[in-house]
């Protein structure tokens, strides 16, 4: 598939053309998506954060400090692992970007260390986070402990019941986990509660968003903090693959942070970019343009504009929206967003475990499930090379899998 890698966008502020997955400008727009749809009370905090991030991101000392922390503390670079038995079975060359091997067990640590260092630089003393599967909460609690920040994590009651181990880990790390009983009692409602709490604590608190969603600058900033996944993978693929690049790059999508980070490393190559949604939470294919949690994107909603509950086996993908940049990449055809069912996901976890000795998170298994389904079809012809970002490890899902199997 041939992609024009120089597809320009227009910077609304400066009038410059720019490449895909670049700075979205002061308005934080990705095509028709993005923006800053927050109460007036939060606008100054978002503006302050944008200014703080721009300054820090342009500061070599901040960048090298983050890189050093990612290396010495979080275990970067994570490897790209070629699968042997599974590749042979599928007839495609399948490589895994191993974010499951990062500290705390998922890619979430990259973003959170970035935000926590930024928060500290900006003089904030408290991290406020929301979490679905608990991985972002654990990462936030970890970074807060490392940097001496207070940490409060909002989590839907239903997710607390599904993710007992991660709740314990957060508490062990010194964080306060606040159960959310409203709505569907999942990630969507935890986001509402975290944002409401932020309004009242904005001076001393940094809202540590868990994905490429929320008001500007979050979708851009989180993507930049996750860019390390794609950039590392690109270099590693260049060393491993005779042709230098994979034909297809696949990642699971809830809010979409691991996919955004992965895609950022390959958006200017010819690789097909595939973001895999949960069938019950497919905001790209089943949603409509709307505004949720401070940004405009594609959102699962009814005819009247009420937000629908997403349904997924994985708490991390139980979210009715999707990062605005993904909605834009879908709009312009640069990335594809198919979906897979819960049954396909469980089958993918088992198959990877038994062929490669790797137990992936249910979230990550969405990406793998798409590969298993499509390998050998025109979607993914035999002899293709495929990179899958394995965004997290499956320990947290063990209790849930016991019930399912």
């Amino acid at each position: 598939m041939s992609i024009d890698i120089s597809t320009p966008g227009v910077d609304a502020v400066a009038g410059r053309s720019r490449s895909l997955m670049a700075d979205p400008g002061s308005a934080g727009r990705f095509g028709q998506f993005g923006g800053r749809y927050v109460p007036e009370s939060l606008v100054p905090a978002c503006e302050q954060l944008e200014a703080g991030f721009r300054e820090a991101w342009a500061d070599p000392a901040f960048r090298s400090g983050l890189a050093r922390t990612l290396s010495l503390y979080a275990g970067r670079p994570t490897p790209v692992t070629p699968t042997l038995r599974l590749s042979a079975e599928l007839g495609v060359t399948l490589l895994l970007k191993r974010e499951d091997l990062a500290h705390t067990g998922s890619h979430k640590i990259n973003n959170v260390l970035g935000q926590a260092l930024l928060a500290k630089r900006m003089g904030k003393v408290r991290l406020l986070a929301e979490t679905g599967a608990g991985q972002h909460g654990v990462a936030s609690a970890t970074a807060a402990a490392l940097l001496g920040l207070e940490c409060v994590v909002f989590m839907g009651q239903r997710d607390i019941e599904r993710q007992e181990l991660n709740v314990f880990r957060m508490q062990l790390l010194g964080a306060t986990v606040v159960p959310v009983h409203s709505g569907s009692r999942t990630l969507k409602d935890a986001c509402n509660e975290a944002l409401r709490n932020w309004v009242s604590q904005v001076d001393e608190t940094h809202y540590c968003a868990g994905s490429v969603m929320g008001p500007h600058p979050y979708p851009w900033m989180v993507r930049e903090f996750q860019r390390v996944v794609g950039e590392e993978a690109r270099e590693q693929c260049a060393a491993l693959l005779p042709q230098g690049q994979p034909d297809v790059v696949v990642a699971c999508i809830g809010g979409g942070s691991n996919a955004a980070g992965t895609f950022a490393g390959f958006v200017d190559t010819n690789a097909r970019l595939v973001g895999v949604e949960a069938a019950g939470g497919a905001a790209i294919s089943s949603g409509a343009p709307g505004v949720l949690h401070g940004y405009r994107s594609r959102v699962l909603q009814d005819e009247n504009g009420q937000i629908l509950e997403a349904h997924s086996i994985s708490a991390g993908l139980d979210y009715p929206g999707i990062g605005p940049e993904h909605a834009h990449l879908a709009d312009i055809g640069r990335a594809e967003y198919p979906s897979v069912t819960d049954e396909e996901v469980v089958a993918a976890v088992l198959r990877l475990a038994r062929t490669e000795g790797i137990v992936s998170a249910l979230e990550s298994a969405h990406a793998l499930a798409w590969v298993l389904r499509e390998a050998g079809t025109p979607q993914l012809p035999t002899d293709s090379t495929v990179l899958v970002t394995l965004s997290g490890r499956g320990d947290k899902d063990a209790a849930q899998l016991v019930e399912l199997l």
Partner: protein
């Protein structure tokens, strides 16, 4: 052209009353919270309200505290929809201007033009959308003006002076001064930040400045009237509605707020 023709119905009405020396009272009701919810509009009008704020419920209200959240949830579980609410408002004929408060996703679901036209058809004068701040307001502002709807903007204690000026200038109907950094809900005392917000907004515009968030009692209303042109009262009234009090009983609370404001204006 007279001065009045430059303003919409809501602003003209509020300016007239304010200029006559009256402190303005805008009570709130969530559309669809009870089967007889439009009866509260009449009770509020009879009790001395100058306009009514009608909340169109949204599943994910980012700026609402527990009481309004519960009211929205109850309304939605009773099947409330925008169309039904506006149809009921069109029939209600409250006799005073109405301003709808809702969230961006409700406004943009079928396009802002469609939504604003629906408001106009229902006889609504104003629109308050708390998650569309002034930086994102261009499209909605134009569409609302074309439909004859006055788009009310909010200012917060955290708003910088330069933004306060923009908000005061671009707001229509009135300017909504948020008294606290926080969500809607009752509070024990009127926040100190209320006076600062109201004073700053009044410096930038002659438009009516109403304070809201945390104003619950006649005493707080009277206190607020000392620095602003009036108040919006929501959570304390909705707490009564949610506890089963009918239009006459809640209307009595609005009358008490009216008395508090009148007493505040007189001192």
């Amino acid at each position: 052209m007279s001065a009045h023709e430059r303003y919409g119905r809501l602003e003209t009405h509020l300016r007239d009353r304010r200029d006559a020396g009256r402190s303005l009272l805008v009570p709130y009701v969530t559309a669809g919270v009870t089967a007889d919810w439009t009866d509260y509009l009449h009770a509020y009008a009879d009790a001395g309200a100058d306009a009514v704020e009608v909340g169109l419920p949204f599943s994910d209200p980012m700026l609402d505290g527990p009481t309004i959240q519960e009211a929205s949830h109850r309304a939605l579980s009773l099947g409330a929809t925008t169309i039904d609410a506006l149809t009921r408002l069109a029939r209600a004929r409250a006799g005073i201007p109405l301003a709808v408060m809702t969230y961006a996703n409700i406004v943009f679901r079928h396009g802002a033009t469609v939504f604003c036209d629906q408001l106009a058809d229902a006889g609504v004068s104003g629109l308050i959308v708390p998650d569309v701040p002034c930086d994102e307001v261009d499209e909605l502002s134009t569409v609302a003006a074309d439909a004859g709807i006055e788009l009310v903007l909010l200012a917060a204690p955290s708003t910088a002076p330069s933004r306060l000026r923009t908000i005061a200038e671009r707001s229509r109907g009135f300017v909504y001064g948020v008294t606290v950094m926080g969500t809607t809900g009752e509070r024990a005392e009127l926040a100190d930040s209320a006076r600062a917000v109201a004073t700053a907004l009044r410096r930038h515009s002659t438009r009516p400045v109403l304070l809201g968030f945390g104003i619950s009692t006649p005493g707080q209303a009277a206190q607020a009237s000392g620095c602003a042109d009036g108040v919006v009262v929501a959570s304390s009234l909705m707490r009564e509605v949610l506890s089963g009090r009918g239009p006459a009983e809640v209307g009595a609370s609005v009358a008490a707020l009216r008395a508090g404001l009148d007493a505040g204006s007189a001192t």
